[in-house]
């Protein structure tokens, strides 16, 4: 059982009257990936900035690898890497110069900083652009350089703030591969994302944030199963068939959406689900209803997210 290398307790941070982070607790076990998922303005970036010592919370405690991030920032800074939403590199220096400078500021020896810079340039496929000013780089190249800069010390802990925002699909897949290989080498990663698919693909654990609060905290699979397993969705050709089907399926807990001419029925997974689906379809078929098409829909994180945020919105409206 890995120890928790990032522990945050009761984080609270406001900017003027805007509450950005409103009581966040989180832990990240060593060697795992935690994804902070949420829309713009949910407070994800603020949490990362607090954990990475860039911001002091109004209240709360942060421990990173046993160091108190508020009282021992230098110790924490020596073992973390941070790649931000905006590429944090110097546009007027070349890629190589950027990496060398950052290596020196991590207090590497001159030669070590140089060797490491060359290694990373090679590894991140920036060789052709190594001697060019970074302001001539494309967005994807800048992002790669930025990540390379945060990996100079092969930090055991890596914070990635929306690492793939603005990247094309190729760049995004490349970034995912890099993140996965880092974690397989023992790095602990905390990343933020707006993409549900990204969190689903990468994370061992997902925290969904909205309005500065945690609204869900679980594994991707548990989140999906909480929202209900599978749904049999049947679309009808006309309203008449829809009504008749509704009568036939009253016992099955069916949900009807008249505008879409659709009925959705929760079904179990596996063999039991198969029998359920077979029974429902054969009863519809026996009644000679006009079915346009049907499919089995497995809950995605989008469903989870929509359901949770809608719930959060409606409950806050009630207050």
């Amino acid at each position: 059982m890995a120890d928790d290398v990032i522990i945050a307790r009761g984080l609270f941070k406001s900017f003027g009257k805007t509450v950005a982070v409103d009581g966040i607790d989180l832990t990240v076990p060593g060697g795992s990936i935690l994804a902070l998922l949420g829309p713009n303005g949910a407070g994800k970036t603020t949490v990362v900035r607090i954990l990475a010592t860039l911001l002091k919370p109004d209240r709360g405690e942060v421990t990173v690898s046993g160091f108190n991030a508020l009282r021992e920032p230098i110790e924490v800074q020596a073992i973390i890497g941070l790649a931000g939403q905006t590429a944090t590199v110097d546009g007027s220096l070349t890629g190589l110069e950027n990496l060398q400078l950052i290596g020196r500021l991590y207090h590497l020896r001159g030669n070590d900083a140089k060797t490491r810079a060359f290694e990373l340039i090679e590894q991140f496929d920036l060789k052709d652009a190594a001697q060019r000013a970074v302001k001539t780089y494309s967005g994807g190249m800048r992002r790669r350089l930025d990540l390379a800069a945060s990996l100079i010390m092969l930090p055991p802990i890596l914070f990635l703030d929306e690492p793939t925002t603005g990247l094309d699909p190729v760049g995004r897949n490349g970034m995912w591969d890099i993140i996965r290989s880092l974690v397989s080498n023992g790095t602990t990663v905390l990343l933020t994302t707006q993409y549900l698919e990204e969190a689903d693909q990468l994370a061992d654990h997902i925290i969904i944030m909205d309005h500065g609060r945690v609204i869900a905290n679980d594994t991707p699979n548990m989140l999906k199963s909480k929202i209900g397993g599978e749904q049999l969705e049947i679309n009808f050709a006309d309203n008449e068939s829809l009504i008749m089907a509704q009568n036939l399926l009253t016992a099955n807990n069916a949900q009807i959406s008249p505008t879409k001419l659709q009925i959705s029925v929760p079904v179990e997974t596996g063999a039991a689900g198969m029998r359920q689906v077979a029974n429902i379809l054969s009863s519809l078929s026996a009644a000679n209803l006009k079915v346009a098409d049907y499919n089995i829909h497995r809950a995605t994180l989008d469903d989870v997210f929509l359901q949770l945020t809608q719930h959060a919105t409606s409950s806050s409206l009630k207050m």
Binding site: G84, A87, T88, D90, L105, Y106, H107, R116, L154, G186
Partner: protein, 268 residues
Amino acid sequence: MNMITGRQPLQRPRLYWFFADSFQLLIRSLLHIRQDLDQLMTVTLQPIIFLLLFRYTFGGSIETGNIGYPSFLVTGLLVMDMAFTATTTGIGIATDLQQGIIDRFRSLPMVKSAVLVGHITADLLRSLLTIIITVAVGLMVGFHPHAGFIQWLAVIGLLLLTTLALSTASAITGIVGKSIEFVQQIGFLWILPLMFLSGILAPTTGMPQWLRWFADNQPISQVVIAVRALLLDQPAGDHIWLSLIWLIGITVIAFPLASWLFRRKTIQ
């Protein structure tokens, strides 16, 4: 992890890193000159243009006593050039703050105030270049210094101290300013009156009494009179001491203030 064997960070006292980190950021600031034509012009072309313009437009009509106008002008312009060079620090810091690079620096185990020191010390080197250019072009257009080695050394020291004081002050505008353009504008806004309300371009004798009192006593004027006296072999009076007191005073007040503002701006 085996992969970083031999690449462990060096362990040194914090004071060592203050100087070492500042040095790295000084080099960074100097490397910027390649990309930043604006900065290069401020340091090289602008001093030459000012010198030639004033030399050949005002040169014939300004009465400067027993010293020729070229000598009067060059000794004043040297101080003015320091002030223009000092604007680079403000603009550089504003640029760092606008770009994401500041977050990178702040996430590193470096001494954070080295960011300020890097910009300020780079200004000192740029000033040195400006001094050489101005003196060289000056000599071609009629500047006749009467100074020995010691006097030249004292002048260079005074000029660099001027840059130090003004760069530190300029750092504050860079931290407080809302945009790079604003910092650029504010740089000129405070430099120009100080430059014209001094004896740099013309003697202050023609000014109204109240204005002349300010022009004769403000810090830039003290430095101008001291530099002129040292290079043209004239009595310096108290002006060297007054210059030192002003310049060191400004630096000693402005640097802690800038560091404090910088910390406050970056860690909220």
